[in-house]
């Protein structure tokens, strides 16, 4: 038994190096994880965080360097091998297996069995038990795909936690979770910590880093920038370590602007659908940002889907420029020059084999019809403009998008809709999985789009963020638009109390 006070090095990575064609993803990186600590691994999109995790767990082969676990040199052949060494991982892009039941997802490869047969009953019971520690009471025999992204993410975490005997790695696990779920996760992480498990936690939410991490390691462009105890690393310094430059303090905040007036560009009267969202009124003017805030499942995404015609409204009427319009499908919406970046970009958006350029022009080309091909010059122009504008880290526009880091894929998807030059754009969690630097870029971009007269509807779980750029905020609770905040009321505290429901 090891004493927790000594905190021996559990995992020791030295001089780890890994290159891909055109990029040096890891360049002599050192990393040390102690038993019983939560270690934040931070860096911009494309810094090499996921690559380090994948090399460690045998998904990629390293070019050079050594990895020691408990003092023993290890080289994982594949994830199954890494698991057997006691390293459990939630990968950034997984997505377990939506076609299998929740129980099978939790236990695949280690199902309880007797005489070669899986003991289904036992497996179900244990799955239900396991998930109940996360406050999740669901039917574990249902296919995983029938549950929300948040539930899927919790299942993925529960699986990895249950599997990790020594090391637990979480690559942006909290992206789809609401505040309560995050709290539950942290409680469980702290519990694991006291049991001597070492935890690597990758995230772009700095609040979360400061809430749970004992130490922080920062990577930039595949190199180690530094490793420090959280207590000795002020936020400002952390950000500049990540970016390699200072981020202006006001970058995350929008300049105070006078209220937008004039006629609404889009308006919805009494718009609703049974069991989805109760009828609501909503209007957005050109140059205005309206935020949608509320807990997960409160009807935010559902509102967006209704507006964009993915779900068909049963009551009410939509107006564009004051004239009644019919939005019965996403095609109708895009013909009216609406744009929509969905929340679940991991699975709904990218075409992994196509190049960054092709992914960016996809929506624009589809809108023009395939008979009106954009010339190659024009395609290159558009792609390169957005790569610059959003700082998408890629050697060039021709790289298959699937090979970009997670955050950079998201930026490219954002670019896809911006390229269509919509008049009204719906952004569902636009900054999820995107690093602080690009975060500020996107917020500045939102501002710039507004100045050009674009009407924006933005959904976000980050209250500070939504308060910073919204002119008005609509708060939802239990599938109802409960209150619209404007002017002075647009601040995180008021939004929070409105969500909580005690006014």
């Amino acid at each position: 038994m090891q004493s927790l006070n000594v905190q021996p090095d559990l995992l020791e990575i030295s001089s780890l190096t890994k290159g891909f064609p055109g990029v040096q993803a890891l360049d002599h990186v050192h990393f040390m994880l102690r038993a019983g600590e939560i270690h934040g691994l931070l860096g911009e999109n494309g810094a090499g965080k996921s690559t380090m995790i994948k090399v460690l767990t045998g998904v990629y082969r390293r070019d050079a360097g050594s990895i020691r676990l408990d003092g023993q040199e290890i080289e994982a052949r594949d994830t199954a091998h890494a698991l057997s060494l006691g390293i459990g991982t939630v990968y950034q892009e997984v997505n377990l297996l939506p076609n299998l039941s929740v129980a099978e997802n939790l236990f695949i490869g280690r199902q309880p069995h007797r005489f070669g047969l899986v003991r289904t009953g036992e497996m179900r019971r244990r799955s239900a038990e396991l998930l109940s520690t996360y406050g999740l009471d669901i039917n574990v025999t249902e296919p995983l795909g029938s549950f929300s992204v948040a539930v899927q993410q919790i299942v993925a975490i529960a699986r990895a936690v249950d599997l990790s005997a020594k090391v637990l790695i979480l690559d942006e696990p909290t992206a789809s979770l609401d505040a309560n779920e995050v709290e539950t996760l942290f409680r469980i992480l702290n519990d694991l910590k006291t049991r001597g498990i070492g935890i690597v936690f990758v995230t772009h939410f700095l609040d979360q880093v400061y809430a749970v991490c004992d130490r922080i390691t920062v990577l930039r462009n595949g190199r180690l920038v530094g490793s420090r105890p959280t207590a000795e690393l002020p936020r400002i310094e952390l950000v500049s370590m990540m970016l390699g430059r200072e981020l202006a303090a006001e970058a995350l905040h929008r300049n105070q602007r006078p209220a937008v007036t004039g006629d609404p560009l889009v308006a919805f009267k009494d718009y609703g659908k049974r069991r989805l969202v109760e009828p609501f009124d909503l209007a957005v003017r050109p140059g205005e940002v309206v935020g949608l805030a509320g807990l997960l499942g409160s009807g935010r995404t559902e509102t967006a889907k209704l507006i964009f015609g993915i779900e068909r409204a049963e009551t009410g009427q939509a107006y564009v420029d004051g004239k009644p319009v019919r939005i019965a499908s996403a095609r109708d919406a895009s013909r009216l020059r609406f744009g929509f970046t969905p929340e679940d970009r991991k699975t709904e958006g990218i075409v992994a084999e196509l190049s960054v350029r092709e992914n960016i022009i996809l929506a624009l080309q589809a809108q023009r019809g395939w008979l009106h091909q954009l010339t190659r010059r024009r395609q290159d122009e558009i792609a390169n403009r957005f790569i610059r504008l959003l700082d998408i880290r890629t050697p060039d526009a021709e790289k298959p998008i699937g090979l970009l880091s997670g955050g950079n894929q998201q930026k490219a998807l954002l670019a896809r809709w911006l390229a269509t030059e919509p008049r009204f754009l719906i952004l569902d969690e636009p900054t999820r999985g995107i690093d602080v630097g690009a975060h500020a870029e996107i917020i500045r971009l939102i501002e710039r789009l507004c100045e050009d007269g674009l009407a924006l509807l933005v959904i976000s779980s980050e209250l500070e963020e939504i308060a910073s750029y919204s002119d008005r905020v609509v708060v939802l609770r239990e599938r109802r638009h409960v209150r619209e905040l404007s002017g002075e009321d647009v601040n995180a505290d008021t939004i929070m109390t409105t969500i909580a429901g005690h006014q």
């Binding site: 991982t89 997984v94 377990l96 297996l97 939506p98 076609n99 099978e104 997802n105 069995h113």
Partner: protein
């Protein structure tokens, strides 16, 4: 819950409706004789279809099964009749050879990441060619066991017979169901069909599973070949051409998604029976050309694929 079983239920509904139509026109469809024959005549198809279901569930395809069936017949005829090998030994030999062949295809698919379509297409030509290397004639098999096996049967009340091959087929289905739904291997097959990358990252032994899947498919194809040779009592190089496509049709009609990850073994049984039913109907009818079987199956297949698209679109929508 309901939605997951919908494809199978629809298949079952189609079978029952079809059966009732047949029954209305030809009352003898109720006799155990017709039912017994339905099972016997489609036994070999059923046996391969079980293997094919595993392949398709994993997101692959196996085009070589028809050739393997033909090769099995030719091989048995040659070694039993020309070289006087003990028939039981011959059965074991061919099952072993087929399993090795399947394992080889699985390895190629996994290691070189070549699409299953290409590898098994090559396998199909290769094995069919091997048939002709062995012989170009149709060789009758006269071993006494062939006569004996055909005589083994349970008499059903009403004059029907549940023959040995029909029993083997039902057994294969029963084992297939256990394998697919109650073993780790089965879960791995579904995992592969769901998303190969995710499966790999979750620690599913992708390579081993792939090899086993194609091994199983070829093994069952050889077993079907043995059943087929009981049926025809001969080995012929051009036998069972196009059977791979009939098999795939049975699996898809049985509610298995061609893209993998979703489906059942029991559905495949119903799929096979639907095909058999159509064939029997056309035989009874007497005036229709047997090509109507193909046309009916084509129409059904099309309907089922459209239906599956609809169902999967609907399930994405309600998420």
């Amino acid at each position: 819950m309901m939605r997951r079983h919908l494809p199978v239920l629809i298949t079952l509904g189609v079978f029952i409706a079809g059966y009732l139509i047949c029954l209305a026109q030809f009352p003898s469809f109720a006799s155990t004789r017709v039912i017994g024959n339905l099972l016997t005549d489609n036994a070999f198809l059923g046996i391969v279809a079980v293997g094919m279901t595993f392949v398709i569930l994993s997101g692959g395809i196996d085009l070589s099964v028809g050739s393997v069936i033909a090769f099995t017949g030719v091989f048995l005829a040659v070694v039993i009749e020309r070289y006087n090998v003990n028939p039981y030994l011959a059965f074991l030999l061919i099952l072993g050879i087929a399993a090795l062949f399947g394992a080889g295809m699985g390895l190629l698919i996994h290691i070189f990441e070549i699409p299953a379509f290409i590898v098994t297409l090559a396998g199909m030509f290769l094995v069919r060619g091997m048939c002709f290397v062995l012989t170009t004639d149709s060789i009758p098999i006269n071993a006494p066991i062939y006569g004996q096996v055909t005589d083994i049967a349970f008499s059903l009340p009403g004059g029907g017979r549940l023959t040995f091959v029909a029993i083997v087929m039902l057994l294969v289905f029963a084992l297939g169901i256990v394998l697919a739904h109650f073993t780790r291997f089965g879960a791995n097959v579904y995992a592969l069909g769901g998303n190969r990358t995710s499966a790999q990252l979750m620690g599913v032994p992708v390579g081993k599973t792939t090899v086993k899947i194609y091994m199983l498919s070829s093994f069952l194809a050889a077993l079907a070949g043995i059943a087929f040779s009981f049926y025809t009592s001969a080995g012929y190089s051009l036998a069972a051409t196009g059977v791979e496509l009939d098999t795939i049709a049975a699996v898809v009609i049985g509610g298995t998604l061609l893209t993998g990850g979703s489906g059942t073994i029991i559905g495949t049984l119903v799929g096979v029976l639907i095909q058999g039913l159509i064939q029997t109907y056309i035989t009874f009818e007497g005036t229709l050309s047997s090509w109507w079987t193909k046309i009916a199956i084509g129409a059904l297949l099309f309907a089922f694929i459209v239906l599956q698209r609809g169902l999967s679109a609907a399930s994405i929508r309600t998420r």
